[in-house]
């Protein structure tokens, strides 16, 4: 019976994918690759075919790539119906249909939700609308920001020194623009990598001529009579004159359209089981709704079965492939999503890479190289084992670190390495901010069974 259903589904079922970016595309390709011959519909709120986002804050800003030419390479023909430029507006779980913003409905037999995240906007709408104030998430954002920067800017203020903000600051400096970065924490990247590594990132900013202001928040964006941004007011009462402001305060998960649907969706994403099947609001797994990519949150065996939300490129690909596989295979062939978290960033000429979940670590050891040279391998430890690693211009050692994490290798790391320095012999506090304080977007969100996480409150949707 169940096997018959899967056979039928594979042959002539209707699969709908909401979200037409990296995860949506790779899922669609995997479905076809694995023999799905039914109807396939991809729904995307942007009018463009799937494109790659990482270049938007790097080569596109520098003018080395055009924002129009970042399409994702296709692995195969899809034979799919594309509904682009129309966001999904609602979900009817019982009737098995997706409601679109233009009033249309799309029926499905199985659904994949890959709606991702969007940039967190500046919280004061009238200030956010000032000419010269930008966020950077989409191709349109990149086009607008690039044009503005090309037209010449006296000073750019970047609000938030996470990865995206730091990359924007780096690109602007490379273009020779004056840049001020305002960061609430004590250093850049602290949410993702902690204060020790953040201090290294701060040096990078300073060395490259960024006017870095830490432990400040932006209290107001000031416009001129023409509605153009003119200055940025900081909590230390200083004022920075600027004609471009890039708001880089992390991201928000695109789950609002699911409110009231009965799915377990909220600001932290959509929870799923290890096989990418979404939970409903009662915490019961659904049969026909799957999730993948930035919007998903799933338990990871290597990290205490905590529910991880990963805004990582590689995660989107791996989770999409697993979800797609599980959507059209018999129950016994399903695979768990067990991707090792990993991300990269390039800023100020430095290649930063990480594996594992750094914010889970409470201690850090530099096992190779030195932070003073800004070339090193650092590993994070938690409860006596290695849980993450970060490299600055030393990525070739990362594979080893990944294996250490997979094997639950002991921490502190006692053995010598080919470039162990005296400074790295003792573990130090990794210095992550209190997880209950808001940040501008760590690249990993931990939730679930962490004792540090006391703020997760279930709020039923309004039916």
């Amino acid at each position: 019976m169940a096997a018959d259903y899967v056979d039928w589904l594979r042959r002539e079922g209707r699969i709908v994918i909401v979200g037409a970016s990296l995860a949506g595309l790779r899922a669609a390709e995997t479905l076809r690759e694995e023999g799905f011959t039914g109807s396939l519909t991809l729904i995307g709120d942007e009018p463009y075919e799937p494109y790659d986002r990482p270049p938007l804050s790097k080569s596109v800003l520098l003018g080395k790539a055009s924002p129009e030419h970042t399409e994702l390479p296709r692995r195969r023909e899809l034979d799919a119906e594309w509904r682009l430029g129309v966001p999904a507006a609602g979900l009817d779980l019982t009737g098995k249909r997706v409601l679109l913003a233009d009033g249309e409905e799309v029926d499905y037999d199985r659904l994949l939700i890959a709606t991702g995240v969007r940039a967190r906007p500046w919280p004061v709408p009238e200030e956010a609308e000032l000419d010269g104030v930008f966020v950077l998430r989409t191709r349109d954002d990149a086009t607008a920001l690039t044009e503005k920067l090309r037209a010449g800017a006296r000073r750019v203020v970047v609000i938030g020194a996470g990865f995206a903000g730091s990359e924007v600051a780096s690109a602007c400096r490379e273009m020779g623009l004056e840049v001020t970065v305002a960061e609430r924490a004590g250093a850049p990247l602290v949410g993702a990598l902690g204060g020790v590594i953040g201090a290294v990132a701060a040096e990078l900013h300073l060395k490259n001529g960024v006017d870095l202001r830490t432990r400040v928040t932006v209290t107001a964006l000031e416009g001129d009579a023409m509605g153009r941004v003119r200055a940025v007011h900081l909590s230390d009462e200083s004022v920075v004159e600027a004609d471009v402001v890039v708001v880089s305060l992390g991201s928000m998960r695109n789950t609002e359209w699911l409110s009231g649907s009965g799915l377990g969706a909220g600001p932290r994403g959509i929870a799923s089981d290890a096989g990418c099947r979404a939970f409903d609001f009662r915490g019961i797994v659904t049969d026909d709704v799957f999730v993948a990519g930035d919007v998903a949150r799933s338990p990871h065996a290597l990290f205490g079965y905590q529910f991880l939300s990963l805004e990582h490129w590689g995660n989107a690909v791996a989770q999409a492939e697993t979800a797609a596989h599980n959507m059209i295979c018999p129950a016994s062939d399903r695979r768990p999503h067990m991707w090792m978290p990993a991300f990269w960033s390039s800023q100020f000429g430095v290649n930063i890479k990480s594996v594992g979940v750094p914010p889970m670590g409470d201690e850090l050891m530099i096992i190779q190289g030195s932070t003073a040279e800004r070339r090193f391998v650092g590993v994070y430890g938690f409860k006596g084992r290695v849980v993450a690693a970060v490299t600055f211009d030393n990525a070739r050692w990362l594979e080893y670190c990944q294996r250490q994490i997979e094997q639950g290798a002991p921490f502190p790391v006692e053995y010598p390495t080919v470039d162990r320095r005296p400074e790295g012999r003792q573990p130090v506090a990794a210095d992550f901010p209190d997880p209950s304080l808001p940040t501008h977007g760590p690249t990993v969100t931990l939730s679930g069974y962490s004792p540090a996480d006391r703020r997760l409150v279930f709020t039923p949707g309004h039916h």
Partner: protein, 411 residues
């Protein structure tokens, strides 16, 4: 009578033509240590991969304390150690500077811009076969090719190439441990003399280039474009000699093994003739199937390490059997088959980790062009002897001669 050790059988010249059955035997004991003084031999793909990325593994000869440590060591040039025999941070600094003269981001076009020149060199070498129906592809093609390429890369003036070659040939020959053992004192003397001459010549050229830089590697090495600045004169010399030596016999073997393999698999020779683009896949599969560096014999561990439950004591000699890992059935489907159409081809032919082959982009291009042109121009090429005679070297394994007959040359 006791069976000789597996390591002894691998180094035994009698098994040079086909060591692969021995490698299969080796993989049955993935961490093999036959007796005191013998190396720890690692032969499965995943273990090799993992040790190539392991920061407890050193390439620095000074860390090797085990007996017989220097038996396979070949670098005795009188120069400071080059980065292939160094650990970070020294390795990283020298390799970064070398790379700033060779690849992206400072010289993104260095290799690709040589495409036309490589093509010309290959064409001239093949034109030299005119009027004959039998050639030795080693002596008349594969051997002269890489030296010419390195000359152009470094920036050796054309008119000096013959002189340069006359020093390089005895130097390279002297690196082969068996040749060295069997040679008389005059051979050793000649090699030493060549080394001195080459060193003096290069030093003069580096001096010239630092005063009057051109678009070549020696100028860049002496100028130091990257954030690490320039190399010292001695460092430039040892890097130049490294590129010469490491880029020579390996490339010769890759090309020769390549032609041999294609002649044994004529369907692919035919396909390559019709579609030169196939050379890319063919070269990658060759690097898996017949890697020019069969094993990495110069690693040690700086602390006791455990591999598959076996403890390898600090200072031991470790052999990473790249050619055995490349045919590990746990990694590659149907590994004993030469199949350029495989879609999963992450071979160990260039190693991996921080010491992964520096010259790989050049080696790839040289071999792609060489094989595609040989396939296109030789009319009905045939092997004269199969297997052909091999060189003694077990590490840099390849035919000594590869005599091929053919009906004529296509233009």
């Amino acid at each position: 009578m006791t069976q000789p050790s597996l390591v002894a059988r691998i180094t035994d010249f009698a098994n040079r033509a086909d060591p692969y059955p021995l490698y299969a035997e080796l993989r049955r004991t993935p961490v093999l240590h036959e007796e005191e003084g013998e190396p720890y031999v690692i032969s499965s793909y995943w273990d090799i991969e993992s040790l190539l990325h392991d920061p407890r593994i050193s390439s620095d000869a000074a860390n090797m304390t085990a007996a017989g440590a220097d038996e396979l060591q070949s670098e005795s040039t009188g120069l400071p150690p080059s980065f292939i025999r160094l650990d970070p941070p020294e390795h990283d600094r020298l390799r970064r500077i070398a790379n700033s003269a060779f690849g992206p981001p400072h010289e993104p076009r260095r290799v690709d811009d040589m495409r036309g020149e490589l093509h010309t060199i290959v064409t001239e070498l093949i034109d030299g076969f005119a009027g004959r129906t039998e050639v030795d592809l080693v002596d008349q093609f594969a051997y002269p090719f890489p030296v010419t390429v390195i000359c152009r890369l470094l920036g050796v003036p054309r008119e000096d190439e013959p002189r340069f070659r006359s020093w390089v040939d005895p130097l390279v020959a002297s690196l082969d441990p068996e040749t060295r053992q069997s040679a008389g004192p005059e051979f050793v003397q000649a090699a030493q003399e060549a080394r001195t001459q080459l060193g003096m010549y290069l030093a003069g050229l580096v001096e010239e280039r630092s005063k009057d830089p051109r678009d070549d590697m020696l100028s860049d090495l002496a100028a130091g474009k990257g954030p690490d600045g320039a190399m010292t004169m001695m460092e430039v010399l040892s890097t130049a000699v490294l590129l010469l030596i490491a880029g020579h016999e390996t490339t010769v073997n890759l090309i020769t093994n390549g032609m041999l393999t294609l002649l044994r698999h004529p369907e692919y020779l035919q396909r390559l003739r019709e579609d030169p683009e196939l050379a890319v896949n063919i070269v990658e599969e060759l690097l898996r199937y017949e890697p020019p560096v069969q094993l990495v014999p110069q690693r040690t561990c700086i602390t006791d390490i455990e591999v598959r439950g076996v403890t390898i004591p600090k200072g031991s000699r470790i052999w990473l059997m790249l050619a055995a890992g490349n045919r590990d059935p746990e990694r590659f489907k149907d590994p004993e088959r030469f199949d350029p159409d495989r879609d999963d081809l992450q071979h160990l032919g260039f190693g991996s980790g921080i010491h992964s082959c520096f010259g790989a982009p050049v080696a790839r291009l040289e071999t792609q062009i060489a094989l595609a042109e040989l396939a296109r121009r030789l009319q009905d090429p045939r092997l004269v002897a199969d297997p052909p005679p091999y060189r003694p070297n077990a590490v840099l394994r390849g035919p000594r001669h590869l005599t091929v007959t053919f009906d004529g040359l296509n233009p």
